[in-house]
Symmetry: C2
DNA sequence: GCTTGACATGCAACCGGTTGCATTAAATAG
DNA sequence: CTATTTAATGCAACCGGTTGCATGTCAAGC
């Protein structure tokens, strides 16, 4: 076992440079207050000792930790990693460190995490929070909070509106001559599912298309496979799925059944989490999770820097990404 | 703009309870030193004021922040989210908070992040670090470090040995009658890539198969597509790819080229990040990233709690998961 | 030549806890 | 009943910085 040596403190640098610690502190925070010569001396001494200001001590006296927390329901859900990454790199630009919390879709866990982080972060980004509105409001009263995909009055929030993209998808299919569609649903309690289903129905009515809806509680590859037979049984020529994973499962099953896509049947996904990585590459609705992560972070940083709590409601429209699973209706 | 009120301090609680702050401090850290009555009084006062010990102040005087950092090359690479999640929940069990860092596959960025975190974490987990050995050793001299998929003497590490699974893959292909293989590589600095390439070569030699190696710096769907032509040009009948994404890109390109899998050409992935969600479903090597994340975290916590730096080398064996992209060699 | 600033630096309090040692009161021993 | 532990609490220094105010120096202004 090796003994790790304790890092140099501001006092040691001060002694080495022949000044007091106030000057060392200033050299690092407001060098314009000091003579160029003094600053130089201090930097030389600091460099030589390998001094780095102690983050914790600084946070204690200034009250600014330079930390943020990002809490998501499930890191492993492919919707989140790109969002996390975008948030990270935005935080990075402003020299903030970010704590990541995984609530496991559990409100208690989410609350616990917020409590753990609270003492050492300047603000929170809660993505798809599972907390009740009152709890969110309570936390926001203590520290700045920005929400993603959660619409609470008075709390700054970034919302991804999948309705616009879904409407485009319906219009796209109509233009290709499809007359009958199926919407393959997602989780019962999902706000997105409700929003998407509604958008399909509304657009279809406007364009005079027929729509059937198939429920499918678990949005995943396997359930997409299983639901495919009943999708075909509706007699529709195109399907819009709740998400990409479901759509991907349908593609696999359709291939097994010898139904070729898009010539025999068209498929549209939602969330664009797979990129072009399906075969054929999937026509889908963009998700904008990257922008959402970035926007939420910069909103939070803006609030922190201006000490202002603003009621922002930032809506990101989505659009259709046309790839290769949609084409002219058969016949 | 609302004014957030500053949280109560230890002094306010002390005043309210009619004791000094030492006692309040002890009530929260070593209550057995105080009389039951005093502890009760203090808790009542604390409860009433909504007092929570200030994490930062505590960290400053004790030197223990209760924070850890986990740095990965790319959060959005599907290999990492499950690992991150497992690490998180392990940290959670011990009340540690975890900072997540994304190095963007860039050693400079990785170094910068480590520096940013250094002041406020007790230790690091570096997953698939892109740093040089010397840099890793230097950081480890300052703070406890545990590595994942990086083999540096003297630094505790958790290694996913894909060699065993890759060897099984080669044997599997040999048994199916394949005589000539290609290994499609991954990132230059990747330890896993070196290990996999070596395992393919060794097993092939033992079984009398011919192997060619194609380098491919960026492991991703698109680069898998691009490399496919040169893979076919080698005249091999089967490919083992550095990872599933590369393999998936190859599948898409092979389908476009009219080469059917597995009857015309066999493909094996690595890391099993896609499950059965490719078409055809991919034969691949299991990844064990969940165990790796969990093991690394508990190793780190163990080191922190016992103040001991041990030279641990924890190896996780992998195996082949046979699905539908491998079959008998043609002709 | 003396006053008045402006500028550079030092002094000391403060951020909110923790902790070794001193103090006091109560309990046990002799 | 006094001497000695022992248990409970207070005192004050310390963790490593930041910052308002005081001090000192030197140059410009009159």
């Amino acid at each position: 076992m090796t003994q790790r040596k304790t890092p140099p403190t501001i006092n040691q640098v001060a002694a080495a440079a022949g000044v007091t610690k106030s000057s060392v502190s200033r050299a690092f925070t407001r060098p314009e207050m000091l003579s160029a010569e003094t600053v130089r001396k201090i930097f030389v001494a600091a460099e030589q000792l390998g001094y780095v200001p102690n983050h914790t001590a600084r946070a204690l006296s200034t009250g600014r930790h330079g930390n943020l927390a990002l809490i998501v329901p499930d890191v492993a859900n492919p919707f989140f990693p790109p969002l996390i990454r975008a948030a990270q790199s935005e935080a990075d630009r402003f020299d903030y460190c970010v704590f990541l919390g995984n609530s496991d879709e559990n409100p208690q866990q989410e609350d616990k995490l917020i409590g753990r982080f609270a003492g050492q972060v300047e603000g929170f980004v809660l993505a798809s929070s599972r907390l009740g509105d009152e709890q969110i409001v309570a936390h926001a009263a203590r520290r700045p909070v920005v929400l993603i995909n959660r619409d609470v009055e008075g709390i700054p929030r970034v919302l991804i509106d999948s309705g616009t993209g879904v409407a485009e998808a319906v219009a796209h299919l109509a233009a290709l001559g499809h007359k009958k569609l199926v919407y393959v649903g997602g989780p019962h309690g999902s706000w997105s599912n409700k929003q998407r289903r509604g958008a399909v129905r509304r657009s279809a009515r406007e364009l005079g298309l027929e729509v059937s809806v198939i429920s499918n509680e678990f949005a995943a590859f396997e359930s997409g496979r299983k639901i495919t037979a009943s999708v075909l049984a509706t007699g529709a020529t195109a399907a819009i799925a709740f998400d990409d994973l479901t759509a991907q499962g349908m593609l696999a099953e359709l291939a097994d059944l010898g139904v070729s896509v898009p010539s025999d049947f068209a498929v549209v996904g939602c969330d664009d989490v797979l990129g072009a990585a399906t075969y054929p590459s999937l026509t889908t609705v963009s998700n904008r999770s990257v922008e959402a992560g970035k926007a939420a972070l910069s909103l939070l940083i803006d609030i922190l820097q201006n000490q202002a709590i603003r009621d922002v409601r930032y809506v990101l429209k989505t659009n259709l990404v046309i790839r290769k699973t949609t084409g002219p209706a058969k016949g």
